[in-house]
């Protein structure tokens, strides 16, 4: 299986503080990969580096063979990124924003419209696209970001808390869509605090704590190997016990 995302010793510091410490991962096509960790663990920083928003302080990262640092625009054409808590242009309408993203990706208007229509229907945004985004609720903004991330048909999806603010039908639609895109050969990196959803949706998960990878594997296998009763229990144990895992990362469940 083709490897779509390769991280080698990826690191990022803010001032003197290391937010991500030497993260190494391979994510193949067709995989939904969960990124877990407590607040401040480095998940969003990792996502921002993958989305080319932040430059890594060290290490390398490639998406579909393109280096994040040297070929950022090639990477941007391949990825669809849904950030956590984006502050949209309040005076633009949803449609104007989607048109901007469409044009930046150089997707022909008719093709974008064809791709956009089922997403707009599924998210029930049809009547609101003409309104200024400043009037949108949190869930509507999230839906718009999802459509913007999907309308250029990216091979790699980077989803940072994608269910945040979504209503139940939209959540279900998104879960189905993630599975569908993985089945079509895409790779999805899914960062979330909702472990129950991650356990169901993701093929593999990585637990990051204090910037370091402390556990990696299929959720069910990790739970079975650890002897814990659930992923939540395992997560709590690992993040409480992080010193031990960090000291000997090879012992982390894989």
């Amino acid at each position: 299986m083709e490897t779509l995302i390769e991280l080698q010793n990826l690191a990022r510091s803010y001032g003197g503080r290391l937010a991500v410490r030497g993260l190494s991962l391979d994510i193949p096509a067709g995989e939904v990969f969960g990124l877990l960790g407590p607040n401040g663990a480095g998940k969003s920083t990792t996502m921002k580096m993958l989305a080319t928003l932040l430059r890594p302080s060290g290490g390398t990262a490639r998406i579909a063979g393109h280096d994040l640092l040297t070929e950022p625009n090639e990477v941007r054409r391949i990825i669809g990124y849904v950030p956590e808590g984006a502050d949209l242009y309040e005076v633009l309408s949803g449609e104007e924003f989607l048109d901007l993203v469409r044009d930046l990706h150089q997707v022909p208007a008719d093709e974008a419209a064809r791709r956009r229509a089922p997403l707009v229907d599924a998210f029930s945004l049809g009547n609101d696209l003409g309104r200024a985004m400043g009037e949108y609720s949190k869930g509507m903004k999230q839906k718009l970001l999802l459509i913007a991330a999907l309308q250029h048909d990216p091979r790699v999806l980077l989803l940072d808390e994608p269910l945040d603010g979504l209503d139940v039908p939209a959540q279900e639609f998104l879960k189905d869509l993630i599975e569908e895109r993985a089945a079509q050969g895409g790779a999805i990196v899914y960062s979330s605090h909702i472990l129950e959803v991650v356990e169901k949706v993701c093929h593999r998960v990585a637990i990051i704590h204090q910037g370091s990878l402390v556990a990696l594997g299929a959720p069910r296998e990790m739970v079975e190997q650890s002897g814990e009763e659930s992923l939540v229990r395992l997560f709590l144990k690992i993040t409480a016990d992080s010193g031990a895992w960090q000291a000997s990362p090879a012992e982390a469940p894989r």
Partner: protein, 541 residues
């Protein structure tokens, strides 16, 4: 394929990225202009975008400058005034609006993950900003140029004025943008975010002082060039009027020197801008701001943080909220400062009291009152009204909290205006009994007007979104009500002044007695507004 594509490529940008970004930046500029606050939903300006209103103001400026050129003794000095006011107008737009469009920290999460390059992104922004400013410059200077040509009976004079105006506009705009670049380079985006509110606030006040100085500029326009003396001719506005001066007065070495200075200014600023575009801008515009950790020395001590809670006083809680607003919202900060500063300016310099009259001109009292009525409104609006939830969900007396804004206005806005008004009275050289009586009259009037202002604008403090707050026709109407109230009391002062010190004392007594029914009315209005407030739903004024 657009006709501009070759030029865009020549500048090292990608047309496919440039066009969509330019389109959006234009929309942001047109819809997000903050210099203009009033945007009526009904009536004459209904449907007008803030940018169109800004254009309307530019035309008003142009008409005023044209009138000035027609009436000035020297067309060249009239042109100097027109160029000064027009450039100040442009710089205000650059500093208050275009800075934010040029470096918008919120764009990172929205745009950075989509294909772009920094150079194209920056050029698209500059092109959108340049276009909007070019339109404003034309509206500002077209009519004064016609006036210059008409006054000197020479189309060449009009062209010379336009040449100078173009050079002045280019210099002003480039200076503003380079200043933004300087901030960006020295402090990074985080530094710029910290400094910009202060710069914008100070500049807005400075701008109003320039506009308020029209009397000075009007004096300049009524002066013959020979009466000026050599010093003013060294000032930049005179440099940019040099082309017109050469046409009007014929060639002279000083005029050529001033023209050279104008051209050198344009050259230097444009050179700096090109250099910046070429290599100086190293920071990626769309990179998110670095996380900031507050230095230990700047952290608020726990003792001070809990002050409001320990004293359990709505006043101290509102004061804490005001401090947050002043620190984080440059518009609140500048509006909060403008009322006492502009009021004091009007009282001391614009309508100075006439020596020996025993009373300032009535217009100064009118402005004193009007500013005080409006001062209540400043504390009702906020960029982030939704952050009030922690106030609304805490066990406070909402009415007392709302009425505490009266004390804020008295302390920070009435007090400086009152001091300025008293100083203006002292300058008249009135006998001390009259002075004391007038002082009492001013104090009683001021307090009554602060109360009435709160009654007219009873909204809960910082509860209305800023954009919406400026937008309603109702607010404009209430502003007019404030002007009417102030005008009415100015009439009372005028009548009382006919009886000297005794009349002033009688006036003070009238204002003092009116305070009681006013306080009752204000309390009812504020209580109703405070109790009916829901987050996200502006209280009915």
């Amino acid at each position: 394929m657009s006709v501009s594509d070759p030029l865009i490529r020549l500048l090292g940008a990608d047309p496919a990225v440039f066009h969509p970004l330019y389109r959006v930046q234009r929309l942001l500029l047109q819809r997000g202009v903050r210099v203009v606050q009033v945007r009526a939903r009904r009536g004459l300006f209904s449907g007008a975008s803030p940018y169109r209103l800004l254009c309307f103001y530019a035309v008003v400026y142009g008409v005023s400058a044209m009138a000035l050129l027609f009436t000035s003794k020297s067309t060249v000095l009239g042109a100097v005034v027109a160029l000064t006011l027009g450039s100040a107008f442009l710089l205000l737009v650059v500093v208050t609006d275009n800075f934010d469009v040029l470096v918008n920290p919120r764009e990172a999460l929205v745009l950075a993950a989509h294909p772009h390059d920094d150079r194209t992104f920056l050029l698209a922004k500059l092109a959108a900003i340049g276009r909007s400013l070019a339109v404003l410059a034309i509206l500002l200077f077209f009519l004064p140029g016609l006036a210059a040509g008409f006054m000197l009976r020479s189309p060449v004079a009009a062209l010379a004025f336009y040449f100078g105006a173009a050079a002045a506009s280019l210099s002003t705009v480039t200076f503003g943008l380079l200043f933004a670049a300087f901030l960006l380079k020295t402090g990074g985006r985080a530094g710029m975010e910290r400094m910009l509110p202060w710069i914008q606030g100070v500049f807005q006040i400075g701008y109003l002082v320039v506009v308020g100085g029209q009397r000075l500029l009007g004096t300049l326009a009524a002066t013959r060039p020979a009466e000026l003396g050599p010093l003013p001719w060294a000032l930049p506005p005179f440099w940019f009027a040099a082309p017109l001066e050469l046409v009007a007065d014929g060639p002279s070495a000083p005029a050529f020197a001033r023209l050279a200075l104008a051209l050198a200014t344009v050259g230097l600023l444009l050179g700096g801008a090109v250099r910046w575009l070429g290599s100086g801008l190293t920071e990626r515009l769309l990179e998110p701001m670095p996380r900031q950790t507050i230095p230990a020395a700047r952290r608020t001590p726990a003792r001070r943080r809990s002050l409001g809670a320990r004293r359990d006083s709505e006043w101290s809680r509102l004061f804490a909220l005001l401090r947050v607003q002043l620190r984080s919202d440059w518009r609140t900060r500048s509006e909060f400062l403008i009322i006492p500063l502009m009021g004091a300016f009007f009282l001391l310099f614009w309508f100075p009291a006439t020596p020996g009259s025993g009373k300032g001109p009535l217009m100064s009292f009118f402005f004193y009152g009007w500013f005080l009525v409006l001062s209540a409104d400043v504390l009702t609006r906020s960029s982030r009204p939704e952050s009030l939830w922690w106030i609304l969900s805490s066990p406070i007396d909402r009415t007392r909290f709302s009425l505490a804004s009266l004390s804020m206005v008295r302390a920070f806005q009435l007090a400086p205006l009152f001091v300025a008004a008293v100083l203006a009275q002292i300058r008249t050289g009135s006998p001390w009994p009259l002075l004391l009586a007038t002082t009492a009259e001013l104090l009683a009037l001021g307090d009554l007007l602060v109360l009435l202002g709160k009654g007219i604008f009873p909204d809960f403090p910082f509860s209305r979104p800023r954009a919406e707050g400026g937008a309603s026709g109702a607010r404009t109407a209430l502003t007019l009500v404030g002007a009417t109230v102030s005008g009415l009391f100015t009439g009372v002062i005028f009548v009382c002044s006919l009886w000297g010190a005794a009349g002033a004392l009688a006036g003070a007594a009238v204002f003092f007695l009116l305070r009681f029914p006013a306080a009752f009315w204000v309390r009812r209005r504020a209580a109703a507004a405070a109790e009916s407030l829901e987050l996200g739903v502006p209280a009915a004024a």
